[in-house]
Structures are given as C-alpha cells and as structure tokens.
Amino acid sequence: MFNNKPQYIAEVSHVSKEYGLTRVVNDISFNINPGEIFGLIGPNGSGKTTTIRMLMDIIKPNTGDIRIMNEKMNEQSKDKIGYLPEERGLYRKLTVFQCLVYLATLKNMPANIAAEKADDFLAQTDMLPHRNKRIETLSKGMGQLIQFITTILHEPQLIILDEPFTGLDPVNSNKMKEMIFTLREQGKSIILSTHMMNEVEELCDRILMINKGQSVLYGKLQEIKSQYPVNSVFVKSSDTISDINSVKEIRENGRYQELILKENSTPQMILQELLDKKMDIKKYEIGVPSLREIFIQVVEQNK
C-alpha cells in the first residue's frame, strides 16, 4: 500500500547563502526525521540563524533546495512550522490571549480553535491567571513561556527553537524541556539551535554542527561521540598518582584526578600501570569526550 507519510519532515539540499562577497552558509545539507529532536549547533556567527531563516523562507538561499514535508518551500509551508526566534518579541500592548490568538490565526488556524487551544496551553503552563494581562506587564520568563506557546499553538509538524533556554530560570527551563519531550512523543520534529552543549546532549537524537557556514559534524549524537577517541580517565585513589608513562598530564579535579592520555595510549595501559605500582584504586572511570569537548576540538581544528 502506498504510504503518504513523508520520509523526511524537512530536506535541506546543498543550500548556500551569500551577502555580497561573504558566503555565510556554504553547501549545507541535512534532513529532519519525523519525531526527532535535531540539534543545530555551532559557534556564534557560524550561520545557524541564517540557515533557520532560509528554512522559514524569511530569506532566500542563493543556491540549493529546501523541501518541507515533500513540498518545495513556499508561503503555505510556513503554516506547518512553528518558530521561536533567538530575537524574541511580542505585541507589548496586547493581552496574552489576544496575542496568542492573532499569531495563531496568521498561521491559518481558525480564530475559534485558536482561542480554545490558547486557553488549553495557558492552563497547562499555569499561565491562565495571566490570560487577560498585557504582555508588557509579564516577567521575562513568563513572556518567554508565552512566546513558546505561540510557537506551538497552531500544532505545527516542525518546530524550530533558536536558543530556547536563554534567560529562563531552572523551573521554567525544566517546564520547557518537558514540553519539548511531550511534543516529540506526539510525533513532532524539533530543531533545537543552541550553543549550550549540555542541553543538546540531554535532548537531541541527532545533530548538525556548523562552523564558518560549513557542515562539520552530522549524524546521531552517540555515533559522533563514539568516533572521538577516549582521551582521559578519572581515578579516585587514596595514594598520590604520579609518573605514569601513558599519561601526558594529571589534573586535580576535587575528589578525582583526571589523567590525560598520551597519544597511542589506552585506558587499559594506564590501569595496568596503576596496578603494577600497587596503587589503592577506589574508582576508575573512562572519560567519554563530552559534546562540549568535541565542539571545542572541531572549532579549534577549523581555525
């Protein structure tokens, strides 16, 4: 039987964007699967926001092709996407409810349904008491939560969140993470653009790392991490560790010592040396490279 479900929610193929002589995005390709959280990461000025704006059809690419749910990007495609931009803003003079309904109707949602949904979301986020308050009277965190609701109110299939946790306190940050997970469970696809690597590790299934407008890492998070060799071990010992041949550097890390491996050394070789020296080892842990370390390493390599 023919399956109408799109294979990808978004397909970006060989997209480039130039401003004058500067190429800010250079031949980038990636796909977004249904029901995944996709991390778009990169240092400041790497081309993340430009890529997102092209994906939203706010700016046109010079070359390349963007398809949303099997259709070439067009004005109607915008209704299928929810977008939380990094530069946030709402109509300050409107009430929370008016603002939510107006922005949802701009996404082609009928006003009566938008009104119902707005009340549902406000109730879910404990914001119902603020329904008829003007946006300008809300705190920054509340405003950000309302902005997040405007992004998802019209039930988009693809949700793009550009630095969604910036400025949120831990409580609201957790609330938003829960909502993101719920959206994934509902089968929505989420693009999470951020430079906070811990958030990416916590939330994302796959990532694309951009540096200087070019794609430098693309794939499943665990696969990418496994491609990067172990370069340190954490040891908890009552003895003072020193003079280990396989170790390049020893870092005091509170109750642990972090041993940085020499090139061609392995954690097994270090463990053997420690045992040979009859050291009292209470804990021995292989240090998997964090995404942050991979990020720094990749950016440094591309300098």
Binding site: G20, K78, D79
Partner: protein, 411 residues
C-alpha cells in the same frame, strides 16, 4: 489574501483604539466649533452696539426692473441707483458703504454682486438677511398675481450666492481679490490634508518600527511574507486615515452650515462641491499610499525609532512646498511653478487642494498629476517591499549606501 485581511483588521482595530488617533480625529471639529461659538459671541456683543448706533447706507442697481421699493429696515438704509457708475461714484464719495447689483438674469441665477471697500467677511448675517427681505418684499409685490415656477423658486431662496468684489479707494477693483476667507480656508484644508496623510503614514511607520524594535517582526515574517505584511498594514492604516478624513468632511460640512448662521457669506466663499470632495479623497488616498510606502521603506533601514523617523522625515518636505509658495499661488494659482508642483508626486496632493480653492484646474492637469502619482506609488511599492525583506531583520546598525543598493538587487 486571508492573511492580508488579518493584518488589515489587526492594524485597523489597534489604531482606532489609540488615544492619539481619537484625539486627533476630534480635536479639529472641536476647535472649529469653539471658534464659531467664539465668533458668534463676539459678533452678538458688538452687533448690539452697532445696531443701536449705526445705520448702514447701501446702494443698489436694479437691472431687472422690479426692485423699486427700498424698504426701510432697522440698520440698513437702501438707495436706488440707475447705473453702476452712479453707485460707484456714491461709494467713492462716501455717500454709501457698499452697493449691490441685481443682474438681469437674477431670476435664473439668484446671484447678486456686492461691491465694497470692506472685506466680504464683514457682511453681517443681519445685513444679508435685510437684503434678503428687500428682495422678497419686492418680488412679492411685483408677482403677487402671476407666480410661475421660476419666481416661486426665487421666492423660496432669494439669494443663492453673493459674489463680492473688493474695490480700492478710487472705486476700481482691488489688485488682490483673494479674500481673507478663501485664503484662510484653503490653507486650513491643505493643512488638514497634510496632517491626515502624515498621521496615517506616521502610524504605519510607527507600527513597523515597533515591530522591528519589539523583535516580533521575525515571528511575523515566519508566518507571512514581507509583501503581505506591508499590504495589510497599508490598507488597515489607510482605512483608519480615510475614516478620519471622511469624519472631517462630514463635520466640516455641518460646521460650515453652522458657521453660515454666524458668519454671513462663508458658505459662498468655500463650498463643499462634489469635485472638491472627490478630488480631496482621491488625493488623500494617493498621497497616503505614496508617503506611507516611502516612509515605511526608508523607515525599515533605521536601527532605532528615532533614526527611522529622521530618515522618513525627508519626505515631509515635499508636502510642505506648496505652503512655502503660498504667496505666488494665491496671486497666480495657474503659474507655471504651481503647475510643476501639481505634477511632482510628493507635492501634488497639497498643491492640487490649495489650487482648487482658487482656480479651476484643467482636467488634463489633474489626469496627468494622478497618473504620475499612481506610477510613483507602484515603483515605491516594489522598492519598499525589497527594502523590508532586506533590512527588517537587520538590528542595531544602519546599512551603508553600498549595502543598500546591493541588497535591493539581491532581495
């Protein structure tokens, strides 16, 4: 189309609720009402003094041949003259203060011509009413037994219009026939038109700047195109401006009726002819569209509200040109310079309205002026849409001229 309508409704709703819009709409009729009431008060206070002490000596020349009973009235004494020359001599000798001619075609036109060395605004409503009585009594007397339709019509309204001709001390028509009334009212009308255009286009600019400063613009552009946004805003705020102008026209018409009971002859000086209303509204719409689009396009470049307003302020100069040329236009409304600025799109709305109060602008001039404005609007719209697309998301700095040109090519 649906999204354009949504933006239109949103902008219109927000603007109609704005305090500044409501105040601006009501302030001019209220000021005019206060002015009329004040004038009426002053006149009634001074009229009592004049009527008790002075009797106006006026002459008349009857070219119809039936107005021969110079009835005595409280403060108007009428003297009949057989020719205009005789009446003019009497005026220059100071025997009379003014005279009027009842022309041969009076029954058809209802127009009488008043000659005076004083300004026409000084004809009090009482004097006008007494001339009216004089005509009525004489017509009743002459046609009591043979009333035809034309006579009945005249009896209903003896004076259709009083044309006034200002004479100098030697009894010759004064060089400057432009009466104070026409002069002032034309300017008031132009100023109101300029205010309406700039208020509406100012709201559009303000709304665009606010959305850029509030950073909501990126959310809007992720839902609709910059072109849809611009069209929706232009229509919404244009309707708000048009409602303001229509309100001013309606209240202006009512106030003119009210004023005519206080200030004799004011309705003769400046009437709301269909031509004036149609051209007034046409030029408001064209002027608004042109200024709104230009101001928004340029406003999008500014990095702050103040900068955008400064940049867009350049265009206001165009609308002010006719006011700078006021002396020339009042003396020679068909002068070549006045015509040039009738065709220049930025000055056309105010120049046309100013000239309309003083002269009959040939139809070809109006057609040419409107055509040039429409072409300018289309070109401005295309450029503004590109500017919005290129610069609405540029925060914190203004593009250089090079960047501006390059972006227009790329957008």
């Amino acid at each position: 189309m649906n999204k354009i309508l949504l933006v239109t409704k949103h902008e219109l709703g927000q603007t109609l609720k704005k305090k500044s819009y409501i105040i601006m709409t009501l302030i001019f009729p209220i000021l005019a009402l206060v002015g009329i009431a004040g004038y009426g008060l002053i006149q009634s206070l001074t009229q009592g003094l004049v009527t008790s002490a002075e009797v106006i000596q006026a002459g008349y020349v009857d070219e119809v041949g039936i107005f021969n009973i110079p009835i005595e009235q409280s403060n108007l004494s009428l003297i009949s003259y057989t020719s205009e020359e005789q009446a003019n001599i009497a005026l220059t000798q100071g025997d009379i203060e003014k005279y009027f001619i009842i022309p041969a075609d009076y029954f058809d036109s209802g127009i009488i011509t008043l000659y005076s060395t004083e300004n026409d605004l000084d004809i009090s409503s009482e004097t006008r009413s007494q001339i009216n009585n004089f005509l009525l009594v004489n017509m009743n007397n002459a046609f009591a037994d043979r009333l035809d339709e034309k006579t009945l019509l005249r009896l209903e309204k003896p004076i259709q219009t009083i044309n006034t001709i200002l004479l100098d001390e030697s009894g010759q028509p004064a060089t400057d026939q432009g009466s104070i009334g026409t002069f002032v009212i034309s300017i008031i009308f132009v100023v109101l038109l300029i205010i309406a255009i700039f208020t509406s286009s100012g709201y559009l600019l303000q709304s665009m700047i606010e959305e850029k400063e509030n950073r909501i613009i990126e959310i809007l552009l992720s839902s609709i195109s910059s072109l849809q946004l611009l069209v929706g805003k232009v229509i919404g705020l244009g309707i708000a401006g048009l409602l303001q102008v229509v309100f001013w026209f309606i209240t202006g018409f009512g106030l003119m009726q009210l004023a005519s009971t206080q200030i004799s002859g004011i309705s003769d000086i400046f009437t709301f002819t269909p031509r004036l209303v149609i051209l007034g509204i046409t030029y408001f719409i064209l002027g608004y569209l042109l200024y709104a689009i230009l101001m928004t396009g340029v406003g999008a470049i500014g990095s702050t509200a103040r900068e955008s307003q400064q940049l867009s302020g350049i265009f206001t100069i165009g609308a002010m040109i006719p006011l700078w040329l006021l002396n020339l236009i009042m003396l020679k409304p068909d002068h070549v310079i006045a015509r040039i600025f009738t065709f220049f799109p930025l000055s056309a709305p105010s120049m046309v309205i100013l000239r309309l109060g003083l002269t009959d602008i040939p139809t070809w001039e109006l057609v040419t002026s409107i055509t040039i404005m429409v072409i300018s609007i289309v070109i401005s719209f295309l450029v503004a849409a590109k500017t919005l697309r290129a610069f609405l998301l540029m925060y914190g700095r203004r593009p250089t001229f090079k960047e501006f040109i390059r972006s227009l090519r790329q957008a």
